[in-house]
Subunit: 208 residues, 2 copies
Amino acid sequence: MEQIDTLVATTRRVRAFEPLYRAGSPFKSLYAIRLGSFKTVVVSEEGREQVTGFQVPAELLGLDGVDNDTHTVTAVALEDSTVCVIPYARLEEVSIQVPALRRQIFRAMSREIVHDHDVMMMLGSMRAEQRVASFLLDLSRHHVARGYAASEFRLRMTREDIGSFLGMKLETVSRILSRFDEDELLTVQKRLIRILNIDGLNAVLSYH
Amino acid sequence: MEQIDTLVATTRRVRAFEPLYRAGSPFKSLYAIRLGSFKTVVVSEEGREQVTGFQVPAELLGLDGVDNDTHTVTAVALEDSTVCVIPYARLEEVSIQVPALRRQIFRAMSREIVHDHDVMMMLGSMRAEQRVASFLLDLSRHHVARGYAASEFRLRMTREDIGSFLGMKLETVSRILSRFDEDELLTVQKRLIRILNIDGLNAVLSYH
DNA sequence: CGCACGGTTGACCTGTATCAAGCCGGGTGG
DNA sequence: CCACCCGGCTTGATACAGGTCAACCGTGCG
């Protein structure tokens, strides 16, 4: 990230619910999130929509566009957000002279691939309850990594976004959160989550 | 791929059902498939297994290992296969002087990310029948791209592998193939698939 | 003020899992 | 060479997770 800072041409603000870029639009830059959060959404030919991920500060957006010089997902801000714009042409240029930078990009892409595999596993082989638990534990881990308390955080996205990401309906997300609350694994107050029993949540993952 | 040929240190043969590399083993090389086919499998801490993809000649294996110098998936040959071994250290070296090569690697990684997003959409928002149709149409497209007939091909993997990849049980895969057969969209004879009505299969994707 | 949107909860329905039996084809050992 | 076995596959009966439809609540915004 430090090296990337030297490449930053500009920063850009994106208002809540506005797209940073859209699927189908030409790819020119990567974006490093400074502040705020995003969701990425794919839309199929038949109009099917699916949230493929949520991104928070220090994460990189736009890698999907490298292949065809065209974005394949739409990135939408979940709240007022700020990103650093990294012109891709300049990045390629600079990466010639700076091996460490080149390696960082390779790694960032590989990391996204690995992460996507984890999501595929979640979608393909977990039950709804486990997917929600896994999602919350992931958020919690992210918060720790960013220096916040692991046990309390605000969801930035709607139940519908969560459902789309986890491959279930919003009603199911809601019911499962309520059940977790009832079982005293956590408390839910609209979007505020307080985890009471991390071990219990982890245990949900190993059901049958 | 032509440029990659100049990097190939050796080729390696892998017998059917043998791993090319395992999750957790040190990452040293990428592999370009010459002949045969593979499946990639992730295993979670709880022992959950999930097939994350199937690979055929001209595809690249091992990109998941770049991030941590450790493979995160296991690649298993579905039949006797041959791969070109591309030592990663050498690839990084050569990519300094050859911008076109560097770009190719970036693209290959981006392409995998885009592909993974498509799989996520399939898993997250399609019904079982649609996932199977989508899978078969994908295979058919691949066969066309490789110069074979679109309408007839042999599955290289078991029903269980397909089910794992598509997030359903092997019985469901079997039933759906039988139903497609009954509806005269295709014929199934064990692993030999003959597509009779591509438009019909495509139409399955747009149900409800 | 009231409307729209996000969320919760209930009743009911259905797609897919589960469990179980049986088939087929190929490889092995008697 | 045949009998057997085993793994991959199909098919049926039944169970249940999660989807669907609907009613209702709270709250923030025009």
